[in-house]
């Protein structure tokens, strides 16, 4: 059985762009037939370290500029709302990471 993947989406307030991003990710997961394998959680950027320290998160996706020295892979999804090429690139990267993590 492959591993379930937990994605953490973060933005400045943890309610707005992260929510937008979660919907984009969930739509794409559905297309790829991966919805059941992945859960997507939200948090604000100031709570990232605490949330990651819980140890259950596999992949971090952020809509804000972050330093990026974390225990899990991080994907920057900046500018995805107006730029469809940037959105596709970020989502492709997320799906690639999900598939890799599932094989672990």
């Amino acid at each position: 059985m492959s591993k379930k993947v937990k994605i953490l989406c973060c933005c400045g307030a943890g309610i707005c762009t992260s929510n937008y991003l979660r919907e984009e990710i969930e739509d794409r997961l559905k297309e790829e037939g991966l919805s059941k394998e992945v859960t997507v959680n939200l948090c604000r950027v100031t709570d990232v370290e605490e949330t990651l320290s819980g140890g259950s998160i596999d992949l971090l996706v952020t809509t804000v500029e972050m330093k990026g020295d974390y225990s899990v892979p991080m994907i920057r999804a900046l500018g995805i709302m107006l730029d469809e090429a940037a959105a596709k690139k970020a989502l492709d990267e997320i799906i690639d990471n999900v598939r890799t993590i599932m094989k672990e």
Partner: protein
């Protein structure tokens, strides 16, 4: 509150800010109004200004930008969304890129309490203003009643 619309969960309103010269003017005016109406607490204005400096919310729609200032849910008492037209655009920093300043003529103040799975406000706003003609025609409005009706029917697509 007069003619303001209210659904079961969220308060919707519109404003035209002819005097605003900076993003600070815009956010302060809208936040103060929501505070006086009892939708946010006294920390909301300061928190939203600070958050805008740290994590800007400007979006470079064309031909004029929009911005979606908001802050932490704990400062919101009851959810509200206020749309404002700024006839003479003011500078906001771009989301994800504090160094890039854009001219913003339409602002959505999102006083939200938490995750809105059933209603993705931001997505609806962004999708509507991806079209240049929508940006232009909305920015040209000078009637708050019309602004509110377009906000509800065409942008957020909520039933009243």
């Amino acid at each position: 509150m007069g003619s303001a619309n209210e659904t079961e969960h969220t308060f919707y309103d519109a404003a035209i800010l002819s005097e605003a010269k900076t993003k600070r003017d815009v956010i302060s005016f809208l936040a103060k109004d929501l505070f006086e109406k009892g939708y946010v607490n006294e920390d909301y204005c300061k928190a939203t200004l600070e958050r805008e400096d740290n994590y800007p919310t400007g979006l470079a729609t064309k031909p004029i930008g929009i911005a979606v200032p908001h802050s932490n849910p704990e400062n919101v008492l009851k959810e509200a969304i206020v749309v404002a037209i700024i006839p003479k655009a003011v500078k906001f920093a771009e989301m994800g890129n504090n160094a890039s300043l854009i001219d913003v003529g339409i602002v959505f103040m999102l006083a939200l309490k938490g995750e809105n799975n059933h209603l993705n406000y931001l997505k609806n706003i962004v999708n509507y203003f991806k079209q240049q003609e929508n940006v232009l025609s909305f920015h040209a409005l000078r009637s708050k009643t019309q602004m509110k009706s377009i906000l509800l029917q065409d942008i957020l697509k909520v039933q009243q």
